[in-house]
Subunit: 411 residues, 2 copies
């Protein structure tokens, strides 16, 4: 039999999706699962956007421009004005989800063996796309104790090597819910200018900031040369399946490369682009309403988690995730057990094991990412499940001892 | 300014799209262009499939399964039965166009520095995806004189090195319109088994074979281990913008890798998948009608081209391309001139320069790929344009001399 590639074998498994077989089996047994494991909102897609697709009149679903439909690019350029960005349609490439924007960005900035510094925990798929391009991720560990705050530039600077090409942030943070402010970003911008690096910022959660204002790096003057922003309609407009994202840069050299990558895959999906444009033009106060809803859920989840003995967490400032420490030694095992061995009145919870969001597997070992993407009632039920599950789990596998579980046995 | 990657700078330009700026300028001047440069059919997408999208009832456009919607995979597995393929839904991965299937296939089979043998001329984007993965394409030149027929296995065998991982075919051929038959494929299958290689076959034009029957490598027993097939709804159902393709393999090891790549980019586009499923289920004799239409156009184009002095061409057996030799020394220059300097009653023609479909730039230098994707009347006009253009071009730039142009001058 011919042998597959080594790199293929080494593609990291998605920590968010790796529990899926157990979830399938649990559902087959009739269990109901509260899915808090994936950033898939339950809020309805703007009805005006769905209508734009339903009423589309095109008779031939043909290739569109590789860089995206012109009117969508214009619309998106206008949308960014509220973040003090000065963009033209030419600075915006429509991509097949943020996923493709991440891949194009990494390949356009980095050659094999180059390095990108990323604060961890980070969105796990960054690792997979970097691996596709043989790019090394250099993680900078942030901690639950400090609410995953961004370290000072000096700490970043220590990690810069001759192979470093970029610093990559997710702001607001997935999985942390942390929001980096203007001052912190300004400091990092100075650092990347000093070392001639790119600053790549994934801003897909920008619309969900609940207290402090959001600062987009698109508003910085240095944008012209050093910045690439990744965006998507998936979360903002609850349109994950439409597969529409953006790569935004004013750097002419990068634009020429992105042009070529975009041409290579011909065009982004047609219907998703129709939907996207209608989202911006006709969705009214949709974003405000979605944000208010997530804010309520944020409180429900935080209060629920705070009421569970041994759970370590904080009130996230943005996005719709809470990265919490559980009173278990191996959260991945606990997450699997939730699906295979636990139920409360026919229900269980699916969570994303924290270690999948770290390059170093140790620091996140007792953590889980909990997405507050269900309605308040379901969220309360899910927290009840989690509370009961932690109680039973500790009876089977260990006992609390200063918040740690002493492991008894498992496979 | 930070510097972009070398690999980004080296991404090959799309030969099909590189003339776009000139086309834009020509349109701005009011010229009408007959687009024979791109495989974008003018046949309408099945109306039943558009209706499936228009009537879709989902209220949340959420992530779907990474490997594709189950009912679509089932449907597609059923569709392949007519090609004597014995597939289950699990063997079929829905991808974002054939483009993504090509990328996943190459990355799953090859490590950086590995080699893939491809008969040239070939679909130019293979080169770009190979370059993304630092994979070397080893071209095997086929010639217009032999109607781009597949060489004997011995010729392939001479190119096999310790780094060779696969032989990659496009059958039916883009840009050649050539159809490889059962016997030829069987011989190549033996060869890949002997050397433990993969046989990758891009079959996106399979439905458009006008004489000889089509043989899919999916029908071969060796399919189990050695074969990967690339497919798409783009051409068959005139749905290029839907971005739905397939990667098909029964090799379990490859499946595990493709699973991970698929999870990495979350899911294929939702609406495109709805459209695709309806195409198979409700489009009736759509494919037969499309095929008959292309067949008529094939004759129109062939007869037209044959009537032009100095044009070398043959009747293609399949797909909707004719790779023709023109009486010019540099077809790329001629294609640009068609847009910048020529018009006949306000019309001109856009063609794809042949050298972009070759790894070695010399053999295709006087060739163009002509897509017969316009209706008969437009096609006749386009051929008239081409005939007149070649006449005028020869007056300006050279004179016929045993079918060759003596170059006078150009930039």
């Amino acid at each position: 039999m011919p042998s597959h590639s080594k790199r293929g074998a080494e593609v990291p498994h998605s920590p968010i999706r790796s529990l899926l077989p157990y979830a399938k089996a649990a559902k087959a047994q009739g269990k109901h699962i509260f899915h808090l494991n994936i950033g898939q909102p339950d809020i309805e897609t703007p009805v005006e956007a769905l209508e734009a697709v339903h009423k589309s009149t095109g008779k031939i679903i043909s290739y569109g421009p590789s860089e995206g439909i012109p009117s969508l690019r214009e619309t998106v350029a206008g949308y960014y004005e509220k973040f003090d960005a000065n963009l033209t349609a030419n600075d915006i490439y429509v991509t097949t989800g943020a996923s493709e924007a991440i891949l194009f960005t990494l390949l356009a900035c980095c050659d094999p063996g180059d390095e990108v510094i990323i604060p961890e925990p980070f969105y796990a798929n960054y690792l997979g796309f970097a691996q596709m391009g043989a790019i090394h991720i250099v993680p900078l560990t942030t901690t639950l104790e400090t609410q995953f705050r961004l370290p000072e530039p000096e700490v970043f600077e220590q990690l810069i090597s001759p192979r470093t090409k970029a610093i990559f942030l997710c702001n607001p943070g997935n999985p942390t819910g942390q929001l980096y402010g203007h001052a912190e970003l300004q400091k990092l911008m100075k650092l990347v200018r000093k070392h001639d690096l790119f600053l790549i910022v994934d801003e897909v959660y920008r619309e969900f900031c609940y207290g402090k204002p959001f600062t987009s790096v698109l508003s910085f003057e240095e944008m012209e040369e050093n910045v690439i922003v990744i965006d998507s309609i998936s979360k903002v407009f609850s349109s994950c399946g439409a597969r529409v994202g953006y790569l935004i840069t004013k750097n002419r050299h990068l634009q020429r490369i992105v042009d070529k990558y975009a041409q290579l895959r011909l065009s982004p999906p047609y219907f998703g682009q129709l939907l996207a444009e209608a989202c911006y033009l006709h969705a009214g106060d949709y974003i405000e309403r979605a944000k208010a809803e997530y804010d309520r859920r944020r409180h429900v989840l935080y209060e629920g988690l705070s009421s569970i003995e041994g759970v370590e967490c904080y009130m996230p400032e943005a996005a719709f995730y809470n990265m919490a420490g559980l009173p278990v030694t191996d959260a991945a095992h606990f997450c699997k057990w939730l699906l295979t061995d636990f139920e409360l009145d026919g229900n269980t919870v699916m969570l994303a094991p924290g270690n999948g969001f770290y390059f170093h597997k140790e620091p996140g070992k007792n953590q889980v990412r909990i997405a507050y993407i269900l309605n308040e009632q379901d969220l309360r039920h899910a927290v009840e499940c989690l509370k009961e599950a932690l109680k039973r789990y500790s009876l089977i596998y260990g006992e609390y001892s200063t918040g740690k579980v002493v492991v008894r046995e498992w496979e």
